[in-house]
């Protein structure tokens, strides 16, 4: 599904990703953990095509070169990012936005567009997943939403747009325990054989709810360790610093889990 090889990315002469290697099979959920500034969010940004980075290396997604596609083409190909900080778009209704997004994707895939009535029915069904009510849909995109509401809105969009590869960037940050539970159960409901997920998080807490198939540890722009879900528990106990020091010697070889 996704194969990242020797991915480097720098911004204003500062190298942030220094050779990331990662492979994700259909239906797998991988977690990427690491301290602040390790490059986790940059990886997400590069994967969705945020501009401003000087990128080298390769990212193959379903057999095609992802890096040559525009952000909207990547979206049409099924790549979705739940943003860490979803932006507010004043004056644009949430419902209208999601319908436009879904219809854009359908159009790019040569599918028929949904009319407002059909879309409403679809949205109402998906809203149950994240326990949102109609009032959210009538507000402007993310405008005045609380932190938890923004994150739920991201998962709602994921549910409606049905991506093949979902990247969740710090979806747990700023959530209280109840909101975390809602968001995680929404995500779990969306796990399926054909859908892979890359869960980026700073804390092990989220992984109690969304249990990954694999955990990767990222420090200083590289994946330095990979393992099963127990690795997250270990990290929680010993912190990243220990990992960094312990793994310093094998930075160049670590990373790929095949």
């Amino acid at each position: 599904m996704l194969k990242i090889e020797e991915l480097h990315a720098s911004i204003e002469d500062k190298e942030i990703l220094r050779g990331v290697n990662l492979q994700l099979k259909p239906g797998e959920v991988h977690a990427i953990m690491g301290p602040n500034g390790s490059g986790k969010s940059t990886l997400a940004s590069v994967l969705i095509g945020r501009e401003g980075y000087l990128v080298s290396g390769s990212v193959t997604y379903e057999g095609q070169d992802l890096l040559t596609l525009s952000p909207e083409e990547r979206a049409a190909a099924g790549v979705f990012l739940a943003f860490q900080h979803p932006v507010e778009i004043p004056g644009v209704g949430n419902m209208y936005f999601m319908r436009t997004a879904l219809n854009s994707l359908r159009r790019q895939r040569g599918e028929e567009e949904l009319d407002p009535v059909d879309f409403l029915a679809l949205a109402q069904e998906k809203m149950k997943l994240v326990e949102m009510d109609q009032t959210f849909m009538n507000r402007s995109v993310n405008e005045g939403f609380s932190g938890g509401e923004k994150k739920r809105n991201e998962i709602l969009q994921m549910a409606i747009l049905e991506p093949k590869l979902a990247i969740l960037d710090e979806t747990d940050s700023g959530l209280d325990i109840d909101a975390l539970r809602v968001v995680a159960s929404g995500v779990n409901a969306l796990r399926s054989e054909g859908r892979s997920m890359l869960v980026i998080t700073h804390h092990q807490r989220l992984l109690d709810y969304i249990v990954p198939d694999q955990v990767h540890v990222m420090t200083a722009g590289r994946i330095v360790r990979s393992g099963g879900k127990d690795l997250a528990v270990e990290l929680e106990a010993h912190g990243y610093t220990g990992t960094q020091e312990a793994d310093a010697g094998r930075l160049s070889t670590a990373g790929i889990s095949r």
Partner: protein
């Protein structure tokens, strides 16, 4: 392996402002009755006699003309354009047949076809939408629908020429009472040469039962359009008035110097909405309409309310400051504006709120969008006189920039001579949000559509002030005008 890619931001994609074909740029082959080029007292006499006007009106025109000859065109606006040769303009062009039309059936079929192209088929409109329409082509009013139905409640809605014939006392009482003939260079020119326009009178206590609408169109080449609109709302009356404008594609500039006067007496309310879509000129700045317009309302009575809503997407140059003189105590003035300049369009627009009466209130909301080489200036005046005890103003001006060569300028003038007056002015200018664009694109919305969506959201506060049909048209216009502003 992919080659290294780099970019400094969205500008690469958004910078270019290509030509969006101007949808309304067809020329209708109407036989036109035209006056010779140029301006002198004879031309004014010709216009006046063609329109069979009373002497006092001819005298008023001549006074205006003589005063105009002493004036020079203003230069303080934040726009640049070549000199206008006022002797090379045709000041009168009436489509034939010029005889007055009594019903829709009598309207020249060719003309009706043109309205169909404009999307305002008069017949259809009459039946379906219940909007009374007065259509002005070049300088002459060609059809006014729904007159009879309006007459039942005492509302007068007709062409200006007709009002001069049928309601001379009203015209004489109010003409120039809000915008005097010597108000400014272009208003003065208009007073001398105006050929038609709309007249509307709402009697005491009457709520006009339907939206009134005028469509303006410049058709003949090298023609100036100088229409004049006068709306009077008597005590307790209410009217909502819509104005739409288009012009064909021409490679020379056409002058449009209109005057609109509104009078609201005690407890009266006038809502005036404009969607201006004159030809904006091509990508190099050739052609397009010079839209130099004076619009002013006089809230002369207690609790009177005048609201201006404008969506300005057309014209190569727009220069107008719809304002309200808040003379009556507790009177209210509002101005909601969306101005878009793309290609090489320039706009210098805003509002003037003059507070004279006690507890008068005004609100100004301006949304400016500049794309391509567009230059957009908000210029506004809030003047609180010594008598305006307890007056309030709130102004919000936001500008959105799309592309390195665009410009946005915000130039408010705030003058307060009253201790109890309160004024609050806020303005912001920024580039279209890169994060918003990325967010939309990540969800699969193509960049151009995303730009249009974000811009429409930015303008929503103003659009929601428009009547429904107009709001839809305004959004479409904005989208069309922005097309091509993305690489």
């Amino acid at each position: 392996m992919s080659a290294p890619t780099t970019s400094t931001g969205i500008s690469d994609e958004v910078r270019e402002l290509a030509n969006q074909e101007y949808q309304y740029g067809f020329v209708t082959d109407l036989e036109t009755d035209v006056a010779p080029r140029g301006l002198n007292e004879d031309i004014i006499r010709l216009i006046s006699s063609k329109k069979n006007e009373p002497d006092w009106l001819l005298e008023w025109r001549l006074r205006a003309y003589r005063h105009w000859t002493t004036l020079t065109a203003p230069t303080w606006q934040h726009v640049t354009y070549g000199p206008v040769d006022y002797q090379d303009i045709i000041y009168y062009a009436a489509p034939k047949p010029k005889k007055r039309v009594e019903s829709m059936d009598e309207v020249d079929p060719e003309l009706r076809e043109m309205f169909d192209k404009l999307g305002i088929s008069l017949g259809e409109q009459e039946r379906l939408s219940g909007v009374a329409v007065d259509a002005i082509v070049d300088s002459v009013s060609v059809a006014t629908t729904f007159k009879d139905k309006l007459a039942e409640v005492g509302v007068i809605f007709c062409s200006f020429s007709e009002a001069v014939q049928e309601h001379p006392d009203l015209v004489r009482q109010y003409l120039g009472s809000v915008v005097p003939y010597n108000d400014n260079f272009f208003a003065c020119l208009n007073a001398a040469v105006f050929t038609d326009g709309s007249f509307c009178y709402i009697p005491k206590g009457v709520r006009c039962p339907m939206e009134l609408s005028t469509y303006f169109r410049i058709n003949a080449a090298d023609t100036g359009q100088f229409e004049r609109t006068l709306i009077i709302a008597e005590e307790g009356a209410y009217v909502s008035y819509l104005e739409g404008c288009t012009a064909p594609v021409r490679d020379t500039n056409q002058l449009h110097a209109a005057v609109v006067e509104l009078v609201a007496l005690n407890d009266a309310q006038i809502k005036y909405s404009t969607v201006q879509n004159w030809y904006p000129g091509d990508a190099d700045g050739n052609g397009g309409v010079y839209n130099f317009v004076t619009k002013r309302g006089m809230a002369s009575g207690r609790n009177a309310k005048i609201s201006w809503t404008q969506v300005e997407t057309g014209s190569s140059i727009t220069w107008k400051y719809p304002g309200v003189v808040l003379k009556g105590d507790n009177s209210v003035g509002e101005f909601y504006s969306v101005a878009l300049t793309a290609r090489r369009q320039q706009a210098d627009t805003g509002s003037k709120m003059v507070h004279i009466g006690k507890n008068t209130k005004s609100t100004i909301i301006s949304k400016a969008i500049s794309a391509g080489h567009g230059q957009n200036t908000y210029r506004g005046l809030v003047d609180m006189r010594h008598s305006a005890v307890g007056a309030r103003n709130f102004t919000q001006c936001d500008s959105l920039l799309i592309g390195k060569d665009s410009g946005a300028h915000t130039l408010p003038y705030i003058e307060v001579k009253n201790q109890t007056g309160q004024v609050e002015h806020e303005a912001s200018t920024s580039k279209i949000g890169e994060e918003q664009l990325l967010y939309c694109r990540q969800r699969g919305i193509p960049e151009e559509e995303a730009v249009s969506m974000i811009v429409n959201g930015f303008c929503r506060e103003v659009f929601k002030m428009l009547p429904m049909e107009f709001a839809v048209e305004a959004q479409k216009l904005l989208t069309v005008s922005l097309e091509g502003s993305v690489g």
